[in-house]
Symmetry: D3
Subunit: 279 residues, 6 copies
């Protein structure tokens, strides 16, 4: 794939820095990458496209400018137009419901996309930013990074994924709730101890380098194995072990017949690099 073929967006820049690796950069730096209506639409389109693009096997998400993202754009979002649209509570409620579901779906597409997504976070990751990175597979950050579940400070319970995913990706419910109820900033080191990020880098440049390294390693593996792993990790999170094993067996009924197995074993035994067909 040439860099010409990657899709173009207004709030996102998609590039192809390494073979099979895409980078999606949040790109409204003058607005601190705040999430406006265009963003929500584009992030859906972007990840739906990536899901079907055989040239992409791993994605890195980064933020342009001073910080990763300031979260919801309060000045440019239909969410805040709720109050004046209609008079009847029920009719307005239906609209609210549909908008929330749409926003939730935007980030769920990151999860449904079978390619691993690595969030590389520098400086602030606020509100909707936490919802977003919680839907990614792996989280890396810089030393100056901080996270803030900001929603209670604008009078709402976080409804785009943080309350649903955050406690399931870390192992400290007490701290998770403290963060949600107080909206305080969580610095990088505490985020690392908490298990929210798995690695801290000195600065953004070295983090991007590290993320690309990690992404390239993953991209060199059998995409059948990698994508099957993501699908089943996500499935397992939401099901009992028994249910998840059942689904896994059904999944590998076909995947266990792939040509990649012979190639991978061969490569593994001969310690030589191999290539896998596109997927």
């Amino acid at each position: 794939m040439t860099s010409n073929s990657v899709p173009k967006f207004e709030t996102l820049v998609v590039s192809n820095p390494r073979e099979y690796v895409y980078r999606v950069e949040l790109n409204r730096p003058h607005k601190l990458n705040a999430m406006n209506d265009v963003f929500w639409r584009e992030i859906s389109t972007c990840f739906n496209g990536i899901a079907e693009d055989p040239n992409c096997r791993v994605v890195i998400v980064t933020g342009a400018g001073r910080l990763f993202t300031a979260g919801l754009d309060l000045t440019d979002s239909q969410i805040l137009a709720f109050t004046d649209v209609q008079k009847d509570v029920a009719r307005r409620a239906m609209q609210v419901f549909d908008v929330i579901k749409k926003l939730q779906e935007s980030f769920s597409f990151i999860e449904k996309c079978r390619k691993p997504v690595i969030a590389a976070i520098h400086n602030g990751c606020v509100g909707g930013g936490v919802d977003m990175v919680a839907a990614c597979d792996i989280r890396l950050c810089t030393e100056d990074a901080w996270f803030q579940v900001k929603e209670v400070d604008i009078g709402v319970a976080a409804d785009v994924g943080t309350l649903q995913r955050l406690p399931k990706i870390i192992g400290n419910d007490s701290l998770a709730r403290e963060l949600v109820y107080t909206a305080r900033r969580l610095p990088a080191t505490e985020a690392k101890q908490l298990g929210l990020v798995s690695r801290i880098y000195k600065d953004k440049a070295s983090m991007i380098e590290g993320a690309l390294e990690l992404a390239s390693t993953i991209a060199s593996k059998s995409p059948v194995a990698i994508q099957g792993s993501k699908v089943n990790l996500v499935y397992s999170r939401d099901h009992s072990v028994r249910e998840a094993l059942e689904y896994m067996a059904a999944w590998n009924m076909s995947m266990g017949q792939t040509e990649d197995i012979a190639r991978a074993i061969q490569a593994n035994m001969t310690k030589q690099k191999t290539t896998f067909s596109k997927l």
Copy 2:
């Protein structure tokens, strides 16, 4: 609310140390706050009352005297009367079932109460005490604190919540099981590493101070946002991400129309304190 209006109990002391903050103190110090039949009844009444009391937005649970609680009062509890009540195994079993369900409910009321509950634990937290704090939102402790899942030492599998909640609030199943199977004491520092508590304080006084500080911060936020967050955090723990997002959207259909949003945003932008109507 005046301090006169808080409810009176035999085994609990309820006070109102800060605006919108209640403190519930386990108060049988001469019995090491052991949980007797009166306690189980009162803890239910207490948290059901708090759930409906608009003067309370956050609760702190503490223990009077030498330690937080020694757990079940073996000398004063219907649970241990099981053996001689009746002859038929099945009829006795029905009674056991009903008693266990009632005890379980006592602590589940802490969870169902939409107001965040902070457990501030000093010295020993034994048996039923672990069941109890596992049902709280946030856990703080003193340096001299220790936790003990004591139940196997009295010949029973812990049936009031520890086995059900403990592994879900920490991220180390291996250690959780070790604690359950051995009934060994877990010291404060290990509890912190394990994620069972989110903060350790030098002594009880400074812990209470810290807990009040934290509680006041939470109490200053929109109660619509805070209570919605707790409801959905609890819901999310027990459901798939998809199910939990669905419920969240239904919840915010109405909550997303609250006047608190405008007030909170205004306060946030102007950096001024705001007040929210009672809830």
Copy 3:
């Protein structure tokens, strides 16, 4: 029980080093304890037998020779015979499905066995080894231990339990996914921080000693309490808190009538050792 009465296997050595404690040693050291077809059959038979053997209350799993296990034996396993058995994709798929289900069951028997199982891991624990220890209750390891979710390197998504159990026994989803996607080695200290193991020992000998100590402690407790705890910990992992409390109450309808309660309380109060009937 005399050592004569413990069962004999080709790929496993079962012994009875302490009262009520069994040790199951993976025993194909010349093959690095790689898992072949005989192994899968024997591990099922072994744990089904242990489940019904009243002389066993706790199990320790160890590996003979240089490392714990190298995982699947690629040179001696029906799994890899998939490719040439039949022509029709669907018919082959049915076979694959049945084989995977059978392997999954082998390790699920460890979980279904009501006696706690302690994995004591030295040196390498690779591929199927991670699937296996994830199904154990407690994980200990040596300083030189390392873990490797190897499956993507042979072109498949891990389908014998790692994807299903690993993220539920630790509290760092970001790191778990990194390990799965990269197949990199996880050293002992990182495994400890991650919560994958609960204790690190200097070498194999001291680990075995520690494991036996731990096992003996557990074996000295009421088996009614211990087994009920394991059953309900496993049940709780896969159910909502409410569901799990309901099952717990049904379980203790009968267990709460055991003679062990009186004995355990008596022993606890008099600080004297007691014995419990076999189970």
Copy 4:
């Protein structure tokens, strides 16, 4: 039990027409047994009391006067006070939520009560009446009976159980939805075909007689067996077959040790009547 000992209510009349059989009559005939706030409270108290009363093994629910019940009392219910209580949508919503939950619980107590409940319906059974009888075990009716899911006609989706239980107790989803969407009356014969009632009687007198006969038959059986059956039928409706079998086994761990088994088998073999201890 003497008739003196049955509880007294304002909107219900409880009697004890046969040994171990209670009759609960909806008793606001001048208001067509419309459900007011007192009713909702009393139905909870009544069935909670019955649940613990060893003199009751089966319950019959009937309606006094012209018809079974006209459903919600629009002129005397807090539900309709929703609109004017407070200004903020979110705060009002919280109240609505709590009221609905309370009403739902009132009927769920019928289901949680382990004694079978037979609804004997004559003439109209409207709105809340359908919610109520759907929570009963067995439904009988007279030839002149009719059912009406009335809620859409007052502008709300039925929220006290009809939408949740009705489709699960009959086998015709197409007709169920038609009834819900149109609020049309369903006559007795169609109700019988639909499986909503299992028997039609000529008139109220013969229906009561039939209900008492049926109730007495059930009351003559082992209460351990009957109550265990109800518990597990309700559990099974809401769980997979596997889950329900698991719970059943846990339930019968104790129930399978009852003295009733020997008595019942003996009675069955000798064709003689036996008596069972109270439960």
Copy 5:
């Protein structure tokens, strides 16, 4: 809405025969309304559009020409192109998976659309046709109608909804399985007894008339109440009663504040027709 404003499709004709009532006609009569790739895309677009169209409150689905639908168009469908696309089983499997999911979604949009959908079936309803009508709310048919779960006759298990929905909308699992395993034709009268359809009409004309009558009745009710009913009926089918009651309460937090309640009660009391705002 004028008839000009209804959307235009190639395989469907959408019209607006009564106020708030839309009719969607399968319109490839020369191909027996067989479902080709265009159809799958259009049915999605159509019902997504209807979901958001305030001029539509109820939908009727009919088939143009000789029969309702012959099901999947074997000569014009990507489903059957599976066999030759790629060589690797796993890569082809991924494609199959994605196509099946897309087809499943097409019919699930009928279910997700909050407006009731009435299927009016004449003559044959084959294969995919059964999948489709099983996703509708209400099923009506003519005397000459017949249903055929045809899939086993083309060598596949029905994967677009029949196996998932059919047994849940009728009450005869034995017959449902017979139909699936034999692919025999089910005539109208048996379909009525089975509960698959709720009404039989002499011919297509009278059925359409009946369907319009029914649709108009539903369209005259509060759309807040109707749509809330559909949402919760669908939710209840897939959840336990407790879960469904919980969701219902959350739903009616806002819906219970609608202006429609006052209007509907007023209309009901005065026996006068009322109008409700669009939704």
Copy 6:
């Protein structure tokens, strides 16, 4: 396959009356086919064997002698030995649990076997017999057949599947509960109306003939399609529509690549019989 190759049992007679059709006859006619310990073991072995036998595609279950089965053999079953085995309630309870689970599994193997199982019932089908036929796919009976959920008459709640499966295979919960609570006999015609059986035959001979006809029809279809249908019908019963569609898609990832599709379509178009490879 020759008749010599079918397995031999003590309580069952297995034969091969038509190509790909097996008949399993309960064969203790002098004991009214009562279920003793040998039976429970053999029924497991039998259906596990059938599951793997490529010569069998459909099974018919019949009863030898006067009636289908009298249910549990009270004079020859370990179940009733519960009372005297051990003294401690908990230890006895563990045994009871394990025995119940084993019996439950015996019938669950009928369900797990991917080949459709047709129960052909004449005269009495009592107690365990109802548990058994409820686990079959299709139920046929003679005019003189009757069903009896007998368990309450021996003092226990039915614990081998009736309470779990019966209400899910019919559509009349009111009648199902009446049958369970009263242990009354259900005659054939009522069983047909109830949907418990899908067809009534004049006598046993004509029923067997009809069952063989039905079985042969099913056996002539693609076994990939038939077995996939059964697997997914069973899965769907126990899951939400969404979950079941997800599993279906995973299943057909591989099954949708079968050669049977081309063969079946070809046969269907040319109206000629085809043969399918064994499975």
